[in-house]
């Protein structure tokens, strides 16, 4: 039995059941999604665009929910809320946390796709 650090195993099992042969495609899509959103977050932050940050955080929160990445969801929600309140003061730190959490997720994903 594998132990995931950042993903919910039961959610992954359900996803596997739902997606069938497309499961690996989904995982791959999630990876790309995370990478795209994280670079979007950095880009929007550099432009000081609250709304852009909010949208990217919202999307990343949604797709992370799908794979049971609950800690990532919490981090995204916090960033989304700040951006909504037009407060980007702690955003650099939050984005760094998101990025490091993504590293944890990535290692879980590698385990999953290797099986």
């Amino acid at each position: 039995m594998t132990q995931f650090t950042s993903l919910d195993e039961s959610v992954i099992d359900t996803l596997r059941e739902i997606m069938g042969q497309e499961f690996n495609d989904l995982i791959q899509a999630y990876r790309i999604d995370c990478q795209t959103r994280i670079s979007a977050l950095k880009q929007e932050l550099s432009e000081d665009n609250c709304d852009g940050v909010r949208r990217a955080a919202h999307s990343l929160k949604g797709s992370s929910g799908n794979v049971g990445a609950s800690h990532m969801q919490e981090l995204c929600l916090a960033l989304e809320t700040s951006a909504k309140n037009e407060d980007l003061s702690s955003a650099p730190e939050m984005i760094a946390n998101i990025e490091s959490e993504y590293q944890n997720i990535e290692s879980d994903l590698n385990v999953i796709t290797r099986n």
């Binding site: 497309e22 949208r55 919202h58 799908n66």
Partner: protein, 562 residues
């Protein structure tokens, strides 16, 4: 198979959704933003749209509004995919035309149940629209068919004399589909015959009986059939043709302008009114029989009522549409209000009664949009206008019966129940040169036949008819002797020939009776008495009238010229 559009900018969300939807057996179309959603909606015409709210390019709310607009009257359910849960956001989705929500993250059974439910609703609504379109189409077809049917009926009914100045009538434009029918025509002897009928029911079943009724009426009246014969023929036709439960309440009347008498039969229509112009009094022409088309002829009561009339009298007939016209609070107009119009006496002049009745009904109903289901007819009993020749001349020129002769003999007991004149008039009406003269020919034939029968065969004394008492005695004797008659004959010989634009019809009637002293008798005929009137009139209509043999042969020569 249903097609489902999945619009979500998050690829994992979209993939999961698509997979779930495909598991239901539906086809999916993915879109990653609002603009794509609209474009794919137009391209693939999906049955259901699953729409994320927050998307780049164009958000879900705006895309939903556009899709609902494009869908028009088609029901395209839009289900918003949302993790938002505050009331304000949800209301915004509903305002944009959203039909339901699917919360994120997705719960498989709930998501699939919702999509299935909206799939069924969509199918139901599609069926509904198709059926509505079908009904609309059917209704249009029905209206077209009714227009054609009405045209056919108008062609049949148009032959009559409803445009006589003596007749005024009001019929709904859709009268035949209300089951109301009005026909009028002159008999060859100039009498006016009019029938107002009201078939049970509405629509086509009610209209369908009007055709045989009108054709029988017009065919028979113009050939001189009696009111009773026409009544029986129509009754028989309707009884045979119409299903049980469809019948015709009707009034049939004949106005004899010469004798100043009107003969009325009413089967099931509300009482009509004979309005006495001089006194302002009203006599009711009430129903005394069952409607037409219920009983066989053997049980039809064809008994009529007779009224002496003067030129200032008027007759009013109506169907129950007037009685049943309802006011705003549902009260019917009723007979009492109707008769009240006549009681105003001096207030209302006779020639205003017709309009007054319609006004009174309008006032009672009190609506601008008057649902017109009224049939009303007024016959003024003033002498009719000079009958115009050629009432119904087919454009057959000289191609009909031109050179011909026929002999026709009838014997007892035929005299008792059969009137040979309509049969002969059927032949006469096929002669182009005589068609416009059928009234005159009928008068001649009718008079000569009744003389041959009553004086020749039955030996009745016409002097009996000089007073009212004798008149009755005369007809009592006529009936008895007819019943007792076992031998004898009356032979008609008709010969017609044409010379250029002129023609001659030679009529010979021979009876087996004893004849009379025609050398003296012919000149004794009084001017005004009933018995003499006939021959005097015949003499003026014919080029010559001669008696031969013992007076049991009479020869009339009738000529015409174009």
């Amino acid at each position: 198979m249903l097609t489902v559009l999945v619009a979500d900018d998050t690829s994992t969300d979209r993939m999961i959704l698509e997979s779930l939807v495909r598991q239901l057996g539906y086809i999916t179309v993915p879109a990653s933003n609002g603009l794509e959603a609209i474009a794919f909606y137009q391209q693939y015409q999906p049955d259901i749209v699953l729409m994320d709210v927050l998307m780049p390019e164009m958000d879900g709310l705006e895309a939903a509004r556009s899709i609902k607009k494009l869908a028009g009257e088609n029901f395209v359910p839009i289900l918003f995919l949302t993790s938002l849960s505050d009331t304000e956001s949800l209301v915004a989705c509903l305002d944009a035309g959203g039909d339901d929500f699917i919360p994120k993250p997705y719960n498989k059974p709930i998501l699939q149940a919702k999509i299935n439910a909206f799939g069924r609703m969509r199918e139901l609504q599609t069926t509904l629209l198709q059926q509505r379109d079908q009904i609309r189409l059917n209704n249009n077809t029905l209206l077209q068919e009714q227009a054609v049917a009405k045209k056919v009926f108008d062609n049949v009914a148009g032959k009559g004399c409803l445009d006589d100045p003596n007749i005024r009538f009001h019929l709904s434009s859709q009268a035949i589909f209300n089951g109301d029918v009005l026909v009028a025509a002159h008999r060859p002897n100039g009498n006016l015959m009019l029938l107002l009928g009201d078939f049970t029911g509405h629509g086509l079943p009610a209209a369908i009986g009007s055709m045989p009724l009108a054709t029988a009426f017009y065919g028979m009246v113009s050939k001189g059939f009696s009111l009773q014969d026409i009544l029986r023929e129509i009754n028989h036709k309707l009884k045979t043709l119409l299903p049980p439960g469809i019948f015709c309440c009707a009034s049939l009347l004949e106005v004899d302008y010469q004798v100043q008498q009107v003969k009325v039969w009413n089967g099931g229509l509300p009482s009509g009114v004979l309005y006495r112009g001089v006194s302002g009094e009203v006599e009711l022409l009430s129903s005394q029989s069952l409607p037409l088309g219920i009983m066989g002829n053997d049980r039809l009561n064809s008994q009529c009522r007779y009224f002496d009339i003067s030129a200032t009298d008027r007759i009013y007939l109506w169907t129950d549409g007037i009685h049943e016209a309802r006011s705003f609070d549902g009260e019917m107009f009723g007979e009492a209000r109707l008769l009240e119009v006549f009681r105003h006496g001096s207030d209302v002049k006779a020639n205003q009664i017709f309009d007054r009745i319609l006004e009174a009904v309008h006032e009672h109903v009190g609506s601008d949009v008057f649902d017109d289901d009224l049939s009303l007819v007024e016959i003024s009993l003033a002498s009719p206008p000079e009958p115009t020749d050629d009432q119904d001349v087919g454009a057959r020129g000289d191609q009909g019966l031109i050179e011909w002769s026929m002999s026709f003999e009838i014997k007892p007991p035929t005299f008792l129940h059969f009137d040979p004149l309509p049969l002969l008039m059927t032949v006469i009406s096929d002669v182009p040169g005589l068609r416009g003269k059928s009234a005159q020919v009928y008068t001649v034939l009718a008079e000569l036949y009744s003389n041959a029968l009553e004086h020749g065969l039955l030996q009745l004394d016409s002097s009996l008819k000089n007073d009212a008492e004798g008149f009755a005695e005369y007809y009592r004797l006529r009936k008895r002797r007819l019943e007792q008659l076992t031998e004898g004959f009356i032979r008609f010989t008709l010969a017609h020939s044409v010379n250029g634009d002129e023609g001659v019809l030679r009529l010979t009637l021979e009876d087996s009776g004893e004849g009379f002293d025609h050398h003296n008798k012919l000149r004794e005929t009084g001017e005004k008495d009933f018995s003499g009137r006939g021959i005097a009139l015949v003499t003026t209509l014919c080029a010559s009238l001669t008696y031969e043999g013992n007076g049991n042969i009479v020869k009339a020569v009738f000529t015409w010229k174009d």
